[in-house]
Symmetry: C2
Subunit: 468 residues, 2 copies
Amino acid sequence: MFQLDPNASEPLVAQIVNGLTRCIRSRQWRPGSRAQSIREFARVQGISTSTVVEAYDRLVAAGLLTARRGAGFFVAEAGRADSRPPAQSRMDASAISTDWLLRDIYEQREGDIYAGCGWLPESWHDLEAVSKAMRHLALHPQGSIRYGHPKGFEPLRQQLTRQLADLEVEAPPAQILLTLGASQALDLIVRRLTQPGDTVFVDDPGYSNLLSALRLRGLNLVGVPMTPTGPDAAVLEALLEQHRPQLYLTNTQLHNPTGASYSAAAAFKVLRLAERHDFLVVEDNVSADLVPGRAFTLAGADQLKRVIYVGSFSKSIAPGLRVGFVAAEPGLLDELVYHKLVSGMSTPVINERLVHSISLEGHVRKHLEHLRNRLAKAQERTCRRLENAQFKLFFEPGAGMFVWARPADPSVDTQALAQAALARDILLAPGHLFRPDQAPSPWLRFNVAHCDNDRLFTFIEAASTARP
Amino acid sequence: MFQLDPNASEPLVAQIVNGLTRCIRSRQWRPGSRAQSIREFARVQGISTSTVVEAYDRLVAAGLLTARRGAGFFVAEAGRADSRPPAQSRMDASAISTDWLLRDIYEQREGDIYAGCGWLPESWHDLEAVSKAMRHLALHPQGSIRYGHPKGFEPLRQQLTRQLADLEVEAPPAQILLTLGASQALDLIVRRLTQPGDTVFVDDPGYSNLLSALRLRGLNLVGVPMTPTGPDAAVLEALLEQHRPQLYLTNTQLHNPTGASYSAAAAFKVLRLAERHDFLVVEDNVSADLVPGRAFTLAGADQLKRVIYVGSFSKSIAPGLRVGFVAAEPGLLDELVYHKLVSGMSTPVINERLVHSISLEGHVRKHLEHLRNRLAKAQERTCRRLENAQFKLFFEPGAGMFVWARPADPSVDTQALAQAALARDILLAPGHLFRPDQAPSPWLRFNVAHCDNDRLFTFIEAASTARP
C-alpha cells in the first residue's frame, strides 16, 4: 500500500488515483479482485469518505475499477484496463496518392519536417489569445453547450459583416452561414448545386482536398490553368466552348498551391465569362487574412449575385477551431442552411464564441501584421534556398504560405522524390496531388513556414542534382 | 468627453472602449470624422499611449473606428458601425413542415415552451463540469488549435473503447471515428453506403432529422413500424419479401420519438433477418447514457460485423459540444474517415478534449445518475398530466426524454394543433414530422424535460377536448 501525504501540493484525490493506478498496473491489486471499500480505505488513511468516493469514481471512469451495484468496487479485468491502442502504422511510403495529404500528414510527429503541408506551425498562431478567450468563456459558459443558431453564432456573423465590408462585399449577418471550416462550406455548396456526372471547373493546379471531394461525388472535373495573376482567361474561354460547367470553384488570393492572386483584370474576365456562359463562381478566399494590403475579390465586384464567397479563420486564428463561413444570396444561403442542419445539425457554439472573442480583441490585428511579416521573410528565405538548390520557381508570391517550385531537371520524378523524402521523415507535396486528373507533375508545393530547415535543403539539393 | 477613473474596478481599456462607444453611438463623435490621435488622447487623460492603442484596436475590431494608414483613426460611417441584423422572422405558423424542427426550433427564445423539442434544457446539463474543463484546457492549450487526428482525439477514443466494452462491444480505438455529433456519423455512413434511388429501411415513426437527410439524398424510404419493444419483426419480414434494402437505420434504446427500447428478442430477430437478407444495420444509440441499468445492443450481439454503431455525448454531456462517434469494422471505418476528411477535414480538438476531460472526471457518473432519476420523475409526471388531458400514451417508457401520445379523439388534426400552439409560443412536434412519407399522424412527441408547465397543459386540455 502507498502513503498519502496531506501536506503535498498534489491534491489527495490525485494522490489516491495515481497510487492505486500503480497498484493496479503492477498487479499488486489483482484483476477481478475486490477493491478495499470506500469506508475502509478512508478509515485506514484517516481521510474523508468523499475524497475516496471521488478518487474511485475517477478510477471507474478510467476503466481501472468497475462498480457492481451493491457489491462494491472491483479491479477491472486486465484486458480492458490495459487496452492500449495498436501502434499507429504510418502509411507505406509507396502510397503517396492523392489521399496521402489527408490520411497521413495529420498524424503529426515531433522531428518530422512538414515542408509540403497546408497549415502553419501551431506556434505561429496566437495560442495565448486562444487561452485567454477560453478562460473568459469558462466564466460565462451559459448558452455555449446547447445547440447553436442554425446559421451560427450571431455576433460572429455580425463581425463578419464588418470584415466583408472591408472587402467591399455587402453581406448582412442573415446572408452568412458559419461552417465547420471552409471545407464544410465547400461541401455544402457542392451538395446543393451539383449532381454526380455534372461538369465543374476547377483551378489546375488546385486545392487537393477539394479535388478529392469533387471526384468522390462523381463530378467531371475540368482544370483551368493558373497563372501568377489568376486563371488563364484565354484557355477558360476556349474550355467554355466545349463544356457547360455548373460551377467554377477557384481560390482567388494566395492560391493553394501556387501562391497566385487574381489581378483585377483576371477577376473582371472571369465574372464576364460567368455571366455570358451562365455559371456560378465559388470564390474560395481562405487566405484573405494573409494578404498584405487590400485585395480585390470577385464577391466584391459581383456583390454575391453569381459569386458564392467562402472564408475561414484557420489562417488568422487557428485551423483546429474549425470555423469557416460562406456568404451567398439569401435564397441559396437558406438552402445551404438546410443542408448543414440535416448533415450535421448546428456547428458548435464554443468554437464560434472563441473565434468571436479573439477577433474582438484588438490584438488580432497586430498578430496578423506580425504573421504577414513573418511569412514574407520566410517566403524570401525559402525562394532563395530553393534557387540555390537549382529549383525553378513558378513565381515569387512574396506573401502567404505557398511556393510552387520544380527541380531544374524536368525529368525528375516528383512522386519518387516525395517517397524518398518520406523515408527520411520529410513530407513533400508532389504536384500530381494538385491536378484535377492526378496527372504527373514536375512541380512541388512548399510551405515556407515549415522550410527553415537545413536537413530539408540538404536532401533537396542532393535529390535535385542526382540522376534517377 | 467622459472622465476616466483610474481607481474604478473596470480596467482603463474597457472604460475607454465603453466611453467612446457611447460617444460614437450618440453621434457626439460624428461618422467619418477624425478621432483624437492616440498620443493626444493619452496626453489629455494622463494615461499611457499603450492603453489607448489597445482601446482603439478594440474599437477598430468592433467596427466603430477605422484605421487609415498614415492618417490616423476615423469614426466609422454610420451604416457600417450600426449594422444590426434584421429582426429574425419566426417561420410562418402555417409552415410546420418536416423542416420545422430544424429551421425554427433552434432559435430558442426565453419564455417559449419547447414541449416538442429533441434536447434537454441547458440547465439540466452539468455546466460547471464544462466550465471546469475549459479552465483546465486554457492552462494547457498546446495541441488544441491545430488540425486533429483524422479519427479524432485519441484519448477520447480510448475512453470510448472502455465505454463500449461495458456494452459488450469490442471496438479498439482504431475502429472508432469521432464525428460532429451523431448527425455527421449518420451522414458519413449514408454517403458511403448508399446511392440515390437505393432503398433503405427506417423506423416508422423515426428520427425526423435523419429522415430529412435520407429524403434529401434521394433514397427510397421504407418504414418498419415500431412497437414498445422494438420493430415489428413480422412486418419487417414481410417487407423484406418485397424490398432489398442497403441499410436498416434504427434507434435501439429510448427510441426517438416513441421512447421504445429493443427487447433482446427483437434484437435477435433483426440480426437474423439482416444475415438472411444480407443488409447492414446502423444502430443509432444516442440515448445509451440515459438508459437505466444495462442495455442490450445490436452491436454487442453482432460484434460490428453487420452492425455499425453510432453514439453521442449530446445527452450525457451537452449537445452543443457536437461530439459523436461511429464504431465499425476496420475496412468500413477507414472509408468513413476518408469521407469525413474530404467533407470537413478533422473535427475540432478542443471539443473532443473537453468531452474527454469531463468523462474522466468521476463526477460524470453521478451527474448521469441524477439525470436519469430526474427524467424518470418527469416521465411519470408528464404521463399523468397527458392522461388527465385525455391523451392516450403509446406506452410509458419510464426513462429518457420522449413520450409518444395522441389526443383521445383520433380525428384531431395534430398539424393544426401544433400551428395553434405555435401562435401561443408553445412548440409541439406533430407526428407527421416523424413519418418516412410525412403522412398525417394522430400522434405527437413530447419531451418530458420541457413539460412541467401549467400553460402547456391548459392549452393541451382545451385543444384535446375542443371539436375542430
